[in-house]
């Protein structure tokens, strides 16, 4: 019953902000311990992430990756599944993108290649999610564990392919050849330069528009189509979904295919937009961070776009700290960990006190209102 009386601005506004505030305080304590003034640190993070075209470019570049990996978590979550496999799905998605770019780059125009690489990213990512999905749907294997396992299997598989097939003969480092320039997704500074505007060079590329579009498309898919309806039904109440004639296993597989495809898109940004080659460990924990982003964004595409911006800021702003304070670069990871801890794992910690506070306030307000307008006899 109490749910009815708590207004939405408390649930989606005050409580998440309170959680972030606590995470920030905890981060401040860590900074103090490391002999860094937290206020100064925050300032240099903000100026590092937003203060220059270069910093902003990086922030938005990271944001793009997070949008994809977080959506991959959110879609599965709406179906009641925890997809921890974004890491592996994105890695295999990179294989798809890489193969297309290596094979077709320079042979077909970019405008023809791009749709193919987008499809390849989606198909490869989706296929990597298919086996865990099928095992969950038909054999009841828990998807959390199988997707974790598939992350490791993906790492071994990519390592193998790089060493035995993709690595050009005669090179030492384990990475593929650099793609033909014609297959690269244009970076933002190049696009602006084309129109005669000079901005700072950064890895930010056109993928960001695809990310924003995909976020919107996911919203439409989940809340405005019958497939989304089925996914949300299964996620909320499996027996009711079955009663409604919805095939649980079919929806499970559909959901994971979509999730895998979304994670695969991350490779467009990182591989085709920035590195221009397949490298070892290119996902670099961004699949895991996507879980945190999805949580922060309350598994809603619009929330995820905002949360991705915040994590982009943390990532870019945090790496700025390294230069300013010669602190270890992995301080960023600490910040991310604290955010996940307080707004994910401990999200209920602040919920009850805040709700109680509000209810007390509301009661007193109503009581006052009654005093001022005594019931007419």
């Amino acid at each position: 019953m109490s749910q009815q009386r708590i207004p939405a601005w408390i649930t989606v506004g005050v409580i998440p902000l309170a959680n972030i505030l606590i995470a920030a305080i905890a981060a401040g304590l860590v900074f103090l311990y490391l002999n860094i003034n937290p206020i100064d640190a925050l300032q240099s993070m903000v100026s590092g992430a937003f203060g220059s075209g270069y910093g902003l470019g990086y922030t938005l570049y990271y944001m793009t990756s997070y949008i994809f990996t977080a959506l991959a978590v959110a879609v599965a979550f709406k179906c009641g599944m925890f997809n921890i496999g974004g890491e592996g799905q994105a890695y295999i998605g990179a294989l798809g993108v890489g193969l297309v770019c290596l094979g077709l780059g320079g042979h077909v125009p970019f405008i023809v290649l791009l749709p193919i690489s987008i499809i390849a990213a989606a198909v490869f990512g989706a296929l990597w999610a298919l086996i865990p999905a099928a095992l969950q749907a038909y054999r009841g294997s828990h998807i959390v564990i199988t997707t974790i396992m598939f992350n490791f299997i993906a790492a071994s598989l990519m390592n193998y392919l790089l060493v035995y097939f993709l690595k050009p003969v005669g090179t030492m480092s384990v990475e593929s050849a650099v793609f033909d320039r014609a297959s690269w997704i244009p970076q933002m500074h190049e696009v602006f330069a084309f129109f005669g505007i000079r901005i700072a060079a950064s890895p930010l590329n056109l993928s960001i528009f695809w990310a924003l579009f995909v976020a919107f498309a996911v919203w439409v898919f989940l809340w405005r189509t019958r497939w989304g309806y089925e996914i949300r039904s299964v996620g909320s109440n499996t027996s009711a979904a079955r009663y409604g004639g919805i095939s649980i296993s079919r929806v499970t597989i559909l959901t994971m295919l979509v999730a895998g495809a979304l994670a695969g898109f991350m490779a467009l940004n990182v591989v085709q937009g920035q590195a221009h080659q397949i490298k070892l460990n290119l996902v670099n924990q961004m699949g895991f961070t996507g879980i945190a982003v999805a949580l922060m964004g309350r598994n809603h595409p619009f929330g995820i776009v905002l949360a991705s911006l915040m994590f982009g800021f943390l990532t870019q702003g945090g790496s700025e700290l390294q230069f300013e304070y010669s602190v270890d670069a992995r301080i960023v990871v600490v910040l991310q960990g604290l955010v996940i801890l307080f707004s994910g794992a401990l999200q209920h910690m602040m919920k009850h006190p805040i709700e109680r506070l509000y209810l007390n306030y509301a009661r007193r307000r109503d009581a006052n209102a009654d005093d001022q307008h005594p019931a007419e006899a």
Binding site: V30, L34, I340, L341
Partner: protein, 326 residues
């Protein structure tokens, strides 16, 4: 004889590789049997490895390292309990938070303390031995040259770190605790039907906190083994997925101590083969080392798919316990 020697060497490495997995799998067993999904073994290994190595360096004693390492993983395990039990936090998210936090904190604090890029200083410097050293069992030296027995006893069985022997001793001990004590009975019950445990007058929360205390202690041994015994140094991310592999072994071993240990040994053997042979030849076909590395995970997936036996998880694993209005 050549073959015999290489088998002994591989088995020797198997025991060493299996040790941290065994500690971590037993640790995970207590948590998961009580109903708490533990993907946080990875982070807890890392945190204990870091604090273990740091304390060993600071005090110049591996024992202080062991104490500090275990304490630190206990603190993180209790944080895990605070999130999952007291605040009904999602088990997977809490585990993830701990893993990420551990990865970041150990590197950042390590760099601040020692300025060696997140590493701790080497624990074997000069005459000071702040690390654990291998133990030579009685008569091992005398028997070393005896054929077969020398190989098995002096090479394979003798000459390991104390923690290796402790890991194998912990298996029957944990079995006893889980299946023959009041605490174990309650841990198993709370992972199957917390409602029933509650009505039997037992605190569900207390039982789970205690189960995670056991997790913290055992996983601490795994971390300390890596940094204070094997490498004699902490380096960032040195757990390298061992927590997840231990989780796989636990599932593969059907949440039971002896079978989990067997899975750890199997995974340890695969690791030994992978390290030793860059591209082993099996039945005339070259097996890429990456396949050997991935085998533990593939096997676990196959098992979870129910294609080789069934691994049935504790019933309420992953679900927060909330008293409901019935």
């Amino acid at each position: 004889m050549e073959l015999f020697n290489s088998i002994i060497v591989i088995l020797d490495a198997t025991l060493r590789n299996a040790t941290p997995l065994i500690f971590a799998a037993l640790a995970g067993m207590f948590s998961e049997r009580s109903g708490i999904v533990n993907i946080a073994l990875e982070g807890k290994i890392l945190i204990s490895a870091f604090f273990g190595a740091s304390a060993a360096y600071y005090f110049g004693s591996p024992w202080m390292g062991l104490l500090a390492g275990v304490l630190s993983s206990v603190v993180f395990a209790q944080l895990h309990a605070f999130a999952t039990v007291t605040h009904n936090g999602d088990h997977v998210v809490s585990g993830l938070a701990i893993n990420i936090l551990a990865a970041g904190l150990t590197a950042a604090v390590g760099n601040y303390w020692f300025s060696q890029g997140g590493n701790t200083p080497n624990l074997a410097f000069g005459d000071t031995q702040a690390r654990f050293t291998p133990i030579t069992l009685p008569f091992a030296d005398q028997l070393a040259d005896v054929p077969i027995i020398g190989g098995i006893y002096s090479e394979l069985i003798s000459g390991h770190y104390l923690l290796v022997y402790l890991a194998f001793a912990a298996v029957p001990l944990c079995w006893y605790i889980l299946f023959r004590t009041r605490f174990g009975l309650r841990v198993r019950a709370v992972g199957e039907n917390p409602h029933a445990v509650d009505t039997a007058g037992i605190s569900v929360a207390k039982t789970r906190y205690l189960a995670l205390l056991m997790t913290g202690i055992l996983v601490g041994f795994a971390g300390v083994y890596l940094s204070v015994a094997v490498t004699a140094q902490f380096s960032p991310n040195m757990s390298a997925g061992k927590g997840y592999m231990a989780l796989a072994a636990l599932i593969f071993g059907k949440w039971r101590p002896r079978t989990a240990m067997q899975a750890c040994l199997l995974f340890g053997l695969l690791e030994a083969i992978a390290i030793r042979s860059q591209g082993a030849v099996f039945l005339g076909v070259e097996v890429p080392v990456q396949l050997v590395e991935a085998t533990p995970y593939i096997l676990t997936v196959v098992l979870l798919g129910g294609f080789i036996g069934r691994s049935v998880a504790p019933k309420v694993i992953g679900e927060p316990y909330v008293k409901e209005r019935s």
